[in-house]
């Protein structure tokens, strides 16, 4: 298990710590300038909706004593308010083999880029006191970090995102998202970072279910520039990172057809996300992450989870 290996190996643990720090730095840079004005409510952490009275018990906050009730009934009662629920956000990271693609340029690694985007989102959400959890998924859910708003939650999330295990599974978004829908529970925010390379027509159907559960959904569609631009010229043997299948192809000969297929795929992904009520953001892994984050937290998006 990667987690066990990390704990057992100090050198590796040290590397992970450094990578987490790097991720934190990148996430912080990504959200600079985006945080101010996110929250409009002055009642952070407290509710204004009255729920019930109960008898005073020593230790209760005297500020919560209902003096009017004491005057009427000569009993010390405490005013109880409906529990204020912080926004519960869940960050879903696709860790399938196709997300490991960097095209020979580590700086454009899709998985790292997706982790950065989600870390930035966590940074923002935790900064405004929301509870944030994280899940790593491929054909199923592999790691789960429950949503919390505690101070150490950011480190925990960053650690999960950075050490996201490598799974050779094929992407099965339908199954994975359905499993996530079971776990994320009540109304909240779900942010999915994936390359959506699951060609099944029902792959994104669970997004509809998430919306039905009251979640706001943001889909960060992470694509590598090699996938988008197809900058190959020499005849090559292309391989599917998930299935291992190979095929000899002349890039120049199939370029036009490939781009037509790619365009249809991207349009289809956007349409299916939009139809499910999710917000769709296409993110190139060689582009600055703040652009994708900014697009995700535009006023329209922010209204959903502010």
């Amino acid at each position: 298990m990667p987690n066990q290996q990390t704990r057992d190996n100090t050198v590796l643990e040290q590397e992970v710590v450094q990578r987490i720090a790097h991720l934190r730095l990148r996430a912080r840079r990504a959200v600079e300038g985006l945080r101010s004005g996110i929250h409009r409510s002055p009642h952070r952490g407290a509710s204004v909706i009255f729920a019930e009275h109960r008898e005073y018990r020593p230790g209760d906050d005297l500020r919560l004593l209902d003096w009017r009730a004491f005057a009427r009934s000569d009993r010390h009662t405490i005013k109880r308010f409906e529990q204020e629920t912080h926004l519960r956000a869940h960050l879903l990271l696709d860790v399938s083999a196709s997300m490991r693609f960097d095209g020979g340029e580590p700086a454009t690694d899709k998985l790292g880029y997706a982790a950065t985007l989600l870390a930035a989102m966590a940074f923002i959400l935790l900064g405004q006191g929301d509870a944030v959890g994280a899940l790593a998924l491929t054909g199923s859910v592999h790691e789960v970090l429950p949503a919390r708003a505690r101070p150490g939650q950011l480190d925990a999330i960053l650690a999960l995102l950075e050490r996201a295990p490598e799974h050779p599974d094929r992407t099965d978004l339908e199954v994975a998202l359905a499993a996530c829908a079971e776990r994320v529970g009540r109304r909240g925010l779900v942010v999915l970072a994936s390359d959506l390379l699951d060609m099944s027509v029902t792959a994104l159907d669970p997004l509809t279910r998430l919306r039905a559960l009251g979640h706001d959904v943001i889909v960060l569609h992470v694509m590598h520039p090699h996938e988008l631009d197809f900058p190959f010229h020499e005849r090559a043997r292309f391989a599917d990172p998930e299935s291992g299948e190979t095929m000899d192809s002349d890039p120049d000969a199939v370029r036009e057809a490939y781009k037509a297929e790619l365009s249809a795929f991207l349009v289809g992904a956007r349409q299916r996300c939009t139809a499910a009520g999710a917000r769709y953001v296409l993110a190139r892994s060689d582009a600055p992450p703040q652009e994708a984050v900014a697009e995700a937290v535009t006023p329209k998006a922010r209204r959903a989870w502010a």
Partner: protein, 671 residues
Amino acid sequence: MGLEAPLALLGLLGALLPWLAHRIRRRDLQPRPLPTFALLLRAEARKRRSRGITDLLLLLLRIAIVIVGTLALTAPFVTARLTFGDGTVASAAIVIDDSMSMTREERGDSLLAQALERTRQALASLPAGSEVALIAAGEHPRVLVRRTNDLRAVELALSALPTGSMRGSNLRAALGLAAQQLQGARHPTLRLLVLSDFAAHAKLRPEDVKLDGIQVRLERVGSAAPATNLWFAGLQAVPDPTVKGQSSLSIELVADGDVAGKVPISVQSGGREVARAEVAINARRGHALVHVPEPAPDADPTGLVRIETVDALDADNVAGVMLRSSDALQVMLVNGDPHPASSRDELYYAQNALRLAPETQGAFALRTVDASGLAKYELGQTDVIVLANAPVPDPVIAERLVRFVRQGGGLIVAGGEQVDARAYNARLGEALPCRIRSRTLGEPVAFVEPPSPGLLPPGPSGLAQVRTRGRLLLECDGDAPLRFADGAPALAIAQRGSGHSALLATTLDADWTDLPLRPGYLPLLAQVVRRVANAVTSVRGPVTAGAPLTLGVPPHASSIEVVAPDGERYRFDGVSGKPSVQLTHTERPGPYRMLAQSARGALAEVPRGAFVVTPPQGESDLTPTPDVERWPERERDHNEVALIRRSLAPHLLLLFALLALAEGVARLWKR
């Protein structure tokens, strides 16, 4: 076929190179991960079919390039047997017989077409740098291409040579032309190739082909076996004396070969069949007499007679004939004193005299009209107008008559009681040769004999015995060809404008004179009519096919069209003022018509303009001259062995370049 460098065939192993390269390149490919592999898979599926064909084509082209290149390196050659010459550079003349007998068909092609093909083979046998002259041996022989080393020009001349020529053959003259062309030739080797059916009618002799310094080769085109043929030996139409408006057509056929029984023939005139008959052939000859309607005076006077059977030579199965005498002078007789009793009619003697006139000098086509009806007729179709004791025409008609004469027509005015001297002088004075002073009746007076030379044929004419009691007194400035005994002019002829007019001082009938009863009357009247007629007789007698022809230009014509038997029209514009034009397109046997157009008028049939072109005499006789190929002995020695090697490498290199080009195009296409 052989190879100069057979070891180079090992290079064929190189044909495996493209395939091996293809395999090695596939094996060396390194896997390249691509997450969007599924999209690439779909794109491949979309492009696979067309790209598969392109790949296969590329592979085949590359293999072909290697094979062709290797074969070119082996220097392959073929051994060719030359059909003309021995492969050395030479100056050559090729004589092609394009006479009518060469239109005979054998094995689905005419002999002339076979000769042309043989000429192309001979040209292909000559090495580069050789000179060639091309001569056509049909009458009249002509040089089609002067001696040149531009064999392409010779090819073009071959293509332009008409294949339906109906010329006679004149091989001897053609050989002379060929020898002339080879004089001063650039190369020492001189060759002459003669392509003909060598029919006996060409009358070629062995000594004709002995030309100093020239290697002569005679090649017979077609089989040497005599072929069955039928042709016209004689064809003539004459007016049927027993039925008015009918012509008798005499047809004589000759058969060469085994022909027995009856041969069907048909006669066409004016575009429709007018008669059909059968000619019985006995002892290789047959004769038939066919009656056909005579064409109207203003209609096409020609007819077409066709042998309706299949024989060796189709070209001589058609012949043209003049169904109505085309060269007859069109004479309009204006009767000033008609009479119910024909013997007392004003024109009784004149009509008979002109009808009985001998046709050796041209016949007369007569039309008789009353003086009052003259206005109804178009004068342009008439050569001569005779006013016989006619009252002077009204001013409009008189003006037309004057214009008719000045534009080339002929006018004869004969005296009589109806002739008013003053009125004639006033209205027709410009057209008359003399002034008419008065009309007188008195003591009979005779003519002076003999008259002017040329007016009558030699011999007694009886003019001295003529007694004339009534006459017109004429005042003539010039000489009169015939005078009365008292010296007064009896006949005056003069030119007026482009035409001529004559004035006879007495009557044409026997009213004033007994001239019509004298033997000199008939030749005198016929000769006067001919002298005033400014008739242009285009062609007399049949014309041999291919012979150039001089056609007289009718007066007033601004352009001429000649209509050939096959409907082809040859036009001559701007002929006004020219005496004649030259027609060279007379290859087609049959009737030809001439149409003329004046500056203002429409095209109209020219009187005496039609003529008949007959196939060349003797061309129908296809009897071959035996053993003609053996006459030139030297050429036989020179052509016993004529094998050459022809390298195929240039062709292969060209193919190599084309394949390389195609490979480049296919590669671009694939991209």
